[in-house]
Symmetry: C2
Subunit: 409 residues, 2 copies
Amino acid sequence: MKIAMREGVTLPQGFLAAGIAAGLKRSGKKDLMLVVSDRPAACAGVFTTNQVQAAPVKLDREVVRRGVARAIITNSGNANACTGAKGMRDAKAMAALTANLLKVKPAEVLVCSTGAIGKPMPMNTIAAGIHAIVPVIAAAGGDDAADAIMTTDTRKKTATVALAIDGKPVTLTAFAKGAGMIEPNMATMLGFFFTDAAVEPRALQRALKQAVDLSFNRISVDGDMSTNDTCLFLANGAAGNRPLHPNHKDWGAFTAALSAMALNLAKKIARDGEGATKLVTVRVEGARTDAEADAAARAVANSMLVKTCWNGDYPNWGRIMDAIGYSPAKVDESKVDIFYDDLVAVRKGVAAKTPIEALSKIQQQEQFTVAIRLHLGKGQAEVYTCDCSEEYVRINVDYIKMPDGREPT
Amino acid sequence: MKIAMREGVTLPQGFLAAGIAAGLKRSGKKDLMLVVSDRPAACAGVFTTNQVQAAPVKLDREVVRRGVARAIITNSGNANACTGAKGMRDAKAMAALTANLLKVKPAEVLVCSTGAIGKPMPMNTIAAGIHAIVPVIAAAGGDDAADAIMTTDTRKKTATVALAIDGKPVTLTAFAKGAGMIEPNMATMLGFFFTDAAVEPRALQRALKQAVDLSFNRISVDGDMSTNDTCLFLANGAAGNRPLHPNHKDWGAFTAALSAMALNLAKKIARDGEGATKLVTVRVEGARTDAEADAAARAVANSMLVKTCWNGDYPNWGRIMDAIGYSPAKVDESKVDIFYDDLVAVRKGVAAKTPIEALSKIQQQEQFTVAIRLHLGKGQAEVYTCDCSEEYVRINVDYIKMPDGREPT
């Protein structure tokens, strides 16, 4: 199925949004975002599996459990994580103030925070920001909202698809952030999806979970998993279709669009990993099981030696052999083949005849695929990752002194 | 027990050694090492657990299984890993040529290789080197031998202890290399221990395994585990003591010295991790089990975000909370305390009152300890690691172009 996806945020009918600089970021960049639905929306969410969870994550789980939301208020510049009872009070206060000004129920306001861990939320600044942002929400405010959630991101990650459900025009729009602390299971990333389609709540959760598993849960920048990862999906039904569910004739088209958008955003996050210069797809085939293929692919994607090697020109495939060798996946080194795009680098565990210059040319591309064939079974998996550069270290060594005004994750 | 440990390699009675430049390293530095015992020595070994193993590792396992060795021949500059059947032939040829020139049995020659993976061994160079090194072995050659195994190491790692067994003077000497690809379970490291004490073979293996578990298996530089890790221990009995075994009255003194030396070398490896500027001890206490304490400590020690943070001055303990949160260990964030040396940074999961400047001062030391108390049980563990600097990335991005002549691991 061909999916016509566009860049940018086009808010679906009934949604308004804004992004402003509330003064949380030292740089003066946008740091507060609000998206509002003019009517109650079905809401789904997927969250970090970290045992240490930010206060807003705990709050949002409850909103998602109830399944109805009217707004998402999100700040960057402070994660509101490891902030104890005060952190939870602050998250609730953000929801309450937003709800009060919007005249909706506090229990229907979702809250997200991203930034440094362990710092108390500057609630005066936040409150003033919420007062400032509510009056400026607009149908055209989606791109500003996407700006306001960025931290060390260098580019905005957006995707929009128009489709027809029951013959009615429907919009699906989404934006995400994430640059460091990116690991399987949704490290510091926020992802927001909005549609004017009507979707049955349980079906919405199922569709989101499925899309996340095949996208945001398949990327890795540095193997760290954050306390704040949140992916939310609001569907307000303004399009007037019969509510979507798995037996609806347009369910396939809807979930295909959703999954394609999630994968598109996930790859953008990997490509924009802190300091990254390349997007690398690691595909493992022929493992004993899909789970073992996944484990081997993640070992490669998370190996610092592999990632630093990719940053340069020299295709040091020995490090890939090393990484699969210590992964939990069963490996017989004498059976392993490794390809860089369509060129074979390793055949039966030893160097193939391909000239190193040809492999190097592939590794110098901004995107390439490393395919590892284990020849032990039918298990396969694919993960999306990036190289690791000196810039990655520079960003993370001492963000307090970051020169260009980008903000800590 | 006070153990008087010295730097440097003092070969025990009956051992001769040399280290020469055979032409394997482009830099012209020493790259071939030979240690010989003038009589058969009991021999023990501990090896990488990677499924992808270098040819010499496979060969050495057999020698160690038989338990008797006369010599160790070791090259740096090429790992002889992922080299297939030719690699095994080459390792055997190294043993055979060394044995032939020394007039000992090939089955009693151990072989180690360290360097880049996946390149055929330049056997002409190696053979010429073996011919050159055999005539120059000497009782004073230990330090040259230690030089010859270095790759990206910036410092030699050596330790010597003199003790008395059955009233007879005994020497224990050891040297090691390791800088990148260092993870629990002995990533690219080589460690060699020699003594003139007589030790029963099975007791020797047991003592080495125990010492390695508490030292080399507790360090981590980058989370990568190598194909070549090898730790060997030769005991030739030249001191004339009654053979040591666990019921010998001096067994405790002997194993205490061995363990202290292993820990000393292991910490030197961590401190000299590629690009490292600091040695950090991560201690986890109060986990449900020792295994969970170990898992939590390793999650912290391997977190790129934690390690890059340590490279700077700012004690961003939120990243430590994050890492224990995604570790397999059970964590209740509201119970966690974190200390930098003796200063508390986190109390019950939130920032303690200690001024950030005081914590920063500790993090600026060349050595410090991060102690994490989970308050869930009695499990504890300690691992030794280092910070991650831009230099680490620089070294690993493109070692082909390394400016200062250091060689790839």
